[in-house]
């Protein structure tokens, strides 16, 4: 009775305050479909690499770029310092009136561009730094002009700096810089026939609003200008000889990165390297190494082809004004001229490359008509067009899936998951599931029975009708608890097998319908 009185009292309190002592919970056994989905080749392979052939068969069209060639190897503008010192040629002191211009000094300066002979350059970024030291006992104005330049508004680059009064014993120093971004240089000098040369002028005036000053041969002005961090956007002229070596570089090769083991016999494939030269100068490229590396198996296969270790000539690009038509060179790899089939069938996840490039190997053969846009230099891509026409033998795919469950969201204690498959693909699929620990390593497996049977096929291994099959996965309570509390990610592993020869072709309209049904023991829980 005491308990019932207590219950009733609690009931009243509940009705008044809606407070509960703990969650209400009970177990239920549910037998229900959960999700269904249709998978086609579009779902299994990324759209970006899938291409459909006229007969509706499917190819993988994969491109990976070799590491970009550093444009700086072609052309680099070193920091350039220009220093001037000006003294007064008066043995006896003279008085300079306000506004008097006492220095006017045009001069030519040359960039050290090695063997390059550039007559025009546009600056992407860079600056001119100045340091002016004055012993003139009045404010002075220094006007610095670089002739035959244009800023973004089309004006000649000219800047005026105000320097406070100084003395012989205590000279004043003005330090600063001006941006040269977007400024173009005509580098033909004053005469218009030179290269790498620009003309500048320094004018110095006494402050027109100041006082008269007295100077003598003991007074000086020092000017130091420095062109620093000049990054050209475009250059024209002869851009010189240079060479470049990149690598060995490990490049991710993602087309097969979900394949962990097994073998595949590929019927045909089209593989080539395309090199595009956007530089207005002749170039050469040499692929020293292309090594297919399967980090899962440890197997490596080096490409064997006549281009390996030999220079390939690249024609110069043509400047069309609004775009550049590159000089293209294509290197085809076939099973006859290379071991490319072995390279691909290694199912690599890395490609190790080493590339060497030369510019103007024959010197200035264009009479100074080279050009270089720094945002587009030389590109090299490795293309694979792989028709999905193959014989797969225990081809093992792995895909990590996050079930996104935890103790709060997943009321299931244990479950028997049945996957009902209507398979319209011409291959078997054996499913395995692994629990992953907190660090992503394999922790345990789930017991899976049955496998997804291949669709029925004709003599050409073309699908004639789909086949139904069931795969059952048991998730006992302890493993469910692990998923809820440790790591809800699982590794789905599917092992594919096709029929043997002839090669099985995958068509776009092939599909597999999957329905996931659970027989589960769940806890209903509410507060």
């Amino acid at each position: 009775m005491i308990r019932n009185l207590l219950t009733f009292t609690i009931a009243l309190l509940f009705l008044f305050s809606c407070k509960r002592k703990e969650d209400t919970r009970w177990d239920v056994e549910l037998l229900t479909p959960v999700v269904k989905t249709r998978l086609t080749i579009d779902d299994l392979v990324g759209d970006s690499i899938l291409s459909i052939n006229p007969d509706n068969s499917v190819s993988l069209d994969y491109t990976f770029g070799l590491s970009p060639i550093d444009e700086e190897f072609f052309f680099e503008v070193p920091d350039t310092t220009i220093t001037n010192s000006y003294g007064f040629p008066f043995l006896t002191p003279v008085t300079l009136s306000p506004g008097f211009q006492f220095i006017s000094d045009p001069s030519e300066n040359e960039f050290n561009l090695k063997d390059a002979k550039i007559d025009y350059m546009e600056i992407q970024s860079g600056e001119i730094a100045y340091k002016i030291t004055s012993e003139i006992p009045e404010r002075t104005f220094y006007t610095y002009t670089i002739f035959k330049t244009k800023d973004k508004r089309g004006n000649v680059f000219t800047k005026t700096i105000s320097v406070p009064a100084g003395t012989r014993s205590n000279p004043t120093t003005a330090i600063g810089s001006f941006k040269l971004d977007g400024v173009s240089f005509d580098l033909t000098g004053n005469s218009g026939t030179k290269f790498n040369t620009f003309e500048s002028e320094v004018l110095v005036n006494v402050d027109p609003a100041g006082s008269s000053v007295t100077v003598s041969n003991l007074d000086s002005v020092y000017i130091e200008n420095k062109l620093i961090s000049i990054k050209p956007k475009y250059v024209r002229g002869y851009i010189g000889k240079s060479s470049f070596l990149d690598g060995p570089t490990r490049n991710n090769f993602t087309i097969f990165d979900q394949i962990k083991s097994g073998t595949v016999d590929i019927d045909s494939l089209e593989i080539f390297t395309e090199v595009r030269n956007y530089v207005g100068a002749e170039a050469q490229l040499k692929l020293n190494q292309l090594l297919s590396v399967n980090t899962q198996t440890g197997n490596s296969v080096a490409l064997s082809h006549s281009s390996i270790g030999n220079w390939v000539n690249l024609n110069r690009g043509t400047d069309l004004g609004t775009s550049i038509f590159p000089g293209k060179t294509r290197i085809d790899y076939t099973t006859r001229n290379s071991n490319i089939d072995l390279v691909i069938e290694n199912l690599s996840d890395e490609m190790v490359t080493q590339v060497e490039t030369r510019l103007n190997p024959l010197g200035n053969i264009s009479s100074g008509n080279d050009f270089l846009y720094f945002d587009q230099v030389v590109e090299a891509d490795f293309h694979i067009k792989l028709p999905l026409r193959l014989v797969a033998n225990n081809l093992k795919f792995q895909q990590k899936i996050d079930l996104q469950i935890d103790e709060e969201t997943n009321p299931v204690r244990d479950a028997l998951v049945s996957i009902y498959a209507e398979n319209g693909f011409p291959f078997d699929a054996e499913v395995q599931l692994y629990l992953l620990d907190e660090w992503g390593g394999f922790y345990d497996s789930l017991v899976v029975t049955g496998k997804i049977q291949s669709a029925n096929t004709d003599a050409q291994n073309k699908v004639t009708s789909p086949v139904n099959s069931v795969v059952k996965i048991a998730i006992p309570e302890k493993k469910m608890e692990f998923l809820n509390t440790k790591n809800s990610e699982v590794m789905l592993q599917i092992i594919f097998n096709t029929n043997s020869l002839p090669h099985t072709t995958i068509y776009r309209d092939y599909y597999i319908d999957l329905k996931l049904v659970t027989d589960m023991n769940a806890e209903i829980n509410y507060r």
Binding site: N4, I10, T24
Partner: protein, 404 residues
């Protein structure tokens, strides 16, 4: 709400003790009261099949074990009921004057009351489905239709007139709706295919939900009007009492559906099992639920009709019997019969056997005290439920009247 209820209870007990003091110090013949304050409180829960242990865990938390479920299942019939009621009311009556000269025998009263009810009627299959799951229905149909779930709470403010000799009264009320949830499944036949590959549901049901964000005390989520009246009938041998006859209109942020359809469920469709998200799953799963609109709705108030045999204060012992029914609340007609015995001039006890409402057969006992200025009573409306864990509910009511 808790604070107000506490005040009401304290008022009730303080009135009782104060009344005893007053009655002891005054001459009963000389004294004529001018006002009356009444407080009533009633709370009960019960079920035709769920026992107290089960209800306790359902309402207040705890593990409902398989053994407990099995025990309840044995008592479950094709139609079962469960309900919780919590009602209280305070009433002030002017005893010396009337507002209406044309009705000199009538006095006026004003009252405030609150009514909370959670109730369900359900089939055995629904119980099995809810507490065991659908696996046992593999290749079978679970008939969960003809089941209703209703939850409402409202307050009312009443103005009324009462006959001087309390033989009749009439009141009109403003209804302040706090919350309403109504699930009425006319038909819901759930077939589980072999191995659970598909579920099929033939459904004809109505869902009405008030504003989920406005559920508190005096929330005005809905509003309505109601009337109460009371009179003596059949040679003045019986007291007929009707409470909360009226309607409530629910318009604010409501959800409504009235659907008749057959649904075949073979899984929530997702675009790619390798790259799905919980959001995609829930979004697609929600499309399987009945489509809800924001249409407002009208509900009839859970009207209570009571017919009690009028007792004779001159008799020391006399039979008592009557009937109580509550509309739209999954309620069974409640019948009772028993005896009332006058222990002294001030104390009365009564006991009866009651059947219906939300519970089966049960014992009711009560004790009442009255003087000229005080009337008070306390009653267990489910004595058997109070004693036995297997009892089907519990109940308590109390009232106090203070005349001054």
């Amino acid at each position: 709400m808790r604070a107000i209820t506490s005040i009401l209870i304290l008022t009730f007990f303080s009135l009782s003790s104060q009344g005893q003091l007053d009655s002891a110090s005054q001459s009963e013949k000389e004294w004529s009261p001018s006002y009356k304050i009444e407080a009533e409180f009633e709370a009960n829960y019960g079920s035709t099949d769920l026992n107290n242990e089960f209800i306790d865990k359902l309402l207040f938390g705890g593990q409902i074990t398989p053994e407990l479920k099995d025990k309840v299942l044995k008592r479950t019939n094709n139609r079962n009921r469960f309900g919780v009621e919590l009602n209280y009311e305070v009433k002030f009556t002017e005893l010396t004057d009337t507002l209406f000269p044309s009705l000199p025998a009538y006095r006026y009263y004003i009252s405030f009351g609150s009514y909370t009810n959670l109730s369900a009627s359900y089939t055995k299959d629904l119980y099995k489905l809810a507490f065991y799951g659908n696996k046992q229905f593999e290749n079978e149909t679970a008939q969960i239709g003809k089941s209703n779930f209703t939850s409402y709470r409202f307050e009312k403010i009443t103005f009324g007139l009462i006959n001087q000799n309390e033989s009749a009264s009439f009141g009109i009320s403003l209804i302040v709706g706090d919350q309403y949830s109504g699930f009425n499944f006319k038909q819901a036949d759930l077939f589980t295919f072999t191995d659970g590959t598909d579920l099929s549901l033939e459904y004809d049901g109505k869902i009405r939900l008030s504003d989920p964000k406005r559920r508190g005390f005096m929330a005005f989520s809905g509003a309505g009007i109601g009337i109460d009246f009371e009179t003596l009938v059949y040679k003045k041998m019986f007291r007929l009492k009707v409470t909360n006859l009226g309607v409530a209109f629910w318009k604010r942020n409501t959800s409504f559906s009235h659907t008749q359809e057959t649904k075949e469920f073979d899984g929530v469709e997702i675009s790619n099992v390798f790259s799905t998200s919980q959001e995609e799953f829930l979004e697609n799963a929600n499309t399987l639920l009945p489509e809800m609109t924001d249409q407002g709705f009208v509900t009839l108030l859970p009207t209570i009709i009571e017919l009690h045999k009028k007792t004779n204060p001159e008799l020391q012992s006399q039979p008592i019997y009557g009937i109580r029914y509550k509309f739209f609340s999954n309620y069974l007609p409640q019948l009772y019969g028993g005896i009332q015995h006058q222990l002294s001039s001030k104390f009365v006890v009564r006991g009866d056997v009651t059947w219906g409402g939300y519970s089966g057969l049960r014992l009711v006992v009560g004790a009442f005290y009255h003087t000229k200025s005080i009337q008070a009573g306390i009653q267990s409306t489910n004595l058997s439920g109070m004693f036995f864990q297997n009892g089907n509910g519990n109940g308590f009511s109390a009232f106090g009247t203070f005349l001054f």
